[in-house]
Assembly symmetry: C2
């Protein structure tokens, strides 16, 4: 391991709410954000909802001297809205598009068109390799009756998979973004338990910001109070998460959020609060673990695996609810399509009567005939598109459910392998250079 | 590193051509495939084009005793067609859907509906962790005028990214599947150079199979000779690739393919030939490298990076061709849509004349009016869908192009860092437990 005594990394994350012409004061807010970033010179800036590439490019221009490296993640119809600016060299980027992301016909929610994804960048921080992730999950429009919950759970599942499988070998892992999940929500527990990522708000020594670390607050002038009910003060849905590796300890020295306004400005940067975390990376040699400590570690690891089994089982249940719902939607589409087809045949049959029985009068006024036929065709087309869409949704849900079943099986087998007395095989610390077992929650 | 003297792993790969009711003798061929797999007991079986889940399930039933573990990767409308059977425990699976995969309106080619992807499975082979990939890239329908080339290049790019980023820390990496690329095709070079994966056909000590390792041959009764022109004998597009890690050497002891027929059977397993590779894994301690060897290694590494720059640059050019094409298609869709809209307005304006100038006669026969309006609406709807689709294609192409530009920049910087005399920083062997630099071709 390279000799790094102590490296400080300042990470910034903000959902910019950057819908051109629709978001209030969009242009001015970008100008404010650019000025602030230029002045603050964070090491890593993770932005979400930068929907227009033009805004990204103008930010890039402004930050050309403070942040030499940047990347804009493109995806879907509009884009992923994800951008990263960095003072450290970006070597490589990779994008994973979530397989589920709402419905195209829910155009007023717009999530589907955004092509929600998680973007990864490989950075060199001194001699260390950092894998930095930025993401934005599907919004929650109604907590009481959240029809997107299965989609968000699958997104969280895919996010933890992506982070877990791509971060092996990295010295530092940092994830920032708008997860659209409360701290104790299922998807959040899934992500944190599986990847071992730690929440900078919970880990920080000193915190300066909104009460309880809220990031969507009632005091923000862009927020309608109605949306927040029943959480009067606000909710915490934006995060900066991190973890080190066996050779690198990572600490959050301080964390802050904006508080719904910006000094000397008329309005805040966005409808979300901005997060800043100051991380400290310290290299160390993993201490030799004595027998007692090993046994203690085993107990705690077994506890973690058991907890993980519970969480994944809960997630499976949620995905099954989604499956059931998608199946019934597809059934409805099929039935409606069949009715449209039947109606079309009926109409054609009635219209064919005069041809068959020569002399009989055409029973249809022409206009009604064409209107009805057009209606039938429109129904058929729409239901066909919906059928294709729901089939894709079903496949994705089934795929996630399969993976979760496999994961629970593997976890349960691991759990059975934790004996009380003798140090088991699975618990042996993997040798350096080898990835720990795929389901080690501390991986 | 665990002590493994020598572990043998037999890997099988086959494109099953499993389109129910369309592929010839589909049912009987699956029965043959199942019998053979049951008898041969390969360690790892990688199947493509298993389009029906029912066929997967019947294979699973048949292989229940020989291959305890299996996974079917679900994706897209029909599925990814990818399946894996294993004698070794599958701990975890993950699926990456390629961002580009043909066009939905090219229904007769059908690739879009398949949801092409790369599936990964994490296996324990004894004490070793193996990451096994199975994939199937977009077909090549016409080599002379291959309109899908940019899509396939982007798929190869995403495939190498996925393998590279998810395989860090694995002891063994195995990739099998139908790449739909000739050995020296751009995408194949991109994949092999970037990931360091080796081709079992080129590496094997003994080979038994079709001449030149061909996997789509003229002698196969399911192949129409016309499709193969100008490659009379056939082409090699199916592969088993592999690599080890610093502590594990991997060798291909033998390799074989079927030869267009199966003894005592009326027809072969598929229109593709089946591949079997016998791999031998040997643990070893990386030798200390002397100064001379280091310098030699440097030269070879610099050469590889330079080669990689050329390949990525070539890929960028190909993606740009695709971008240009997608842009012009989107422009055509926009123009056609605008004409449809103009026609609709014109029609409405003419029809409105009688209302405005009372008493004037309605210039339209009703039937023509409704037919024309329906036509305009159909044009508008179709062109809107195409516009959305091409925009998504553009975003994906742009995204890949951005990533490639970044990669070339990083590679060039690395190249500049290779001095002649003094051992440079980049060339230092990364310490165990740490991932090598993101662009090490040997990674």
């Amino acid at each position: 391991m390279a000799t790094t005594d102590s490296v400080r990394v300042r990470v910034f994350s903000l959902n910019c709410w950057g819908i051109r012409y629709l978001s209030k004061h969009c242009h001015q807010r970008y100008a404010m954000i650019g000025d602030m970033l230029c002045k603050e010179e964070h090491d890593i800036v993770l932005l979400q909802e930068v929907w227009s590439e033009k805004d990204y490019l103008s930010l890039k221009k402004k930050l050309a001297s403070s942040h030499l490296y940047s990347h804009y993640f493109k995806s879907g119809v509009i884009g992923s809205g994800l951008a990263i600016f960095s003072k450290h060299r970006i070597h490589d980027t990779f994008l994973y598009r979530y397989s589920l992301n709402g419905y195209p016909y829910m155009a007023h929610h717009g999530d589907w068109f955004g092509g929600k994804a998680v973007g990864m960048a490989v950075l060199s921080i001194g001699s260390l390799t950092a894998k930095v992730y930025v993401t934005h999950l599907h919004a929650e429009y109604c907590r009481e009756k959240d029809s997107y919950l299965p989609h968000r759970v699958v997104q969280a599942w895919e996010l933890q998979q992506f982070v877990r499988h791509t971060s092996a070998g990295a010295d530092v892992v940092i994830l920032g973004g708008d997860l659209n999940m409360h701290p104790q929500d299922l998807g959040n527990r899934l992500l944190r338990s599986y990847t071992g990522l730690r929440d900078s708000y919970l880990e920080t020594d000193t915190f300066d910001g909104c009460e309880d670390g809220l990031t969507l607050i009632a005091d923000n002038p862009f927020i309608s109070k109605k949306e927040l009910v029943p959480f009067e003060k606000g909710i915490r849905i934006d995060y900066i998460l991190f973890k080190g590796c066996p050779q690198i300890d990572i600490f959050c020295d301080s964390m802050s959020t904006t508080k719904g306004s910006v000094p000397d400005q008329l309005f805040p940067y966005s409808d979300h609060e901005a997060l800043t975390a100051e991380l400290r990376l310290e290299s160390h040699t993993p201490p030799e673990t004595g027998r007692d400590k090993l046994s203690k570690n085993q107990d705690s690891a077994a506890g973690k695996v058991a907890e993980l089994v519970d969480i994944v089982t809960e997630a499976r249940t949620e995905v099954k609810v989604g499956l059931h719902c998608a199946e019934s939607m597809r059934y409805t589409a099929t039935r409606t399509g069949a009715m449209g087809l039947a109606l079309l045949f009926l109409e054609l049959a009635i219209a064919a009567v005069p041809w068959l029985a020569l002399g009989a009068e055409q029973p249809f006024p022409r206009t009604s005939f064409y209107l009805l036929a057009a209606l039938c065709c429109a129904i058929l087309l729409t239901t066909s598109l919906l059928y294709v869409f729901y089939t894709m949704e079903l496949k994705s849900l089934q795929g996630a459910e399969d993976q979760m079943r496999l994961a629970v099986g593997s976890l349960q087998e691991k759990l059975r392998g934790f004996p009380v007395a003798q140090p088991p095989n699975v618990q042996q610390k993997p040798p350096e250079g080898q990835e720990p077992s795929a389901f080690d929650p501390e991986e």
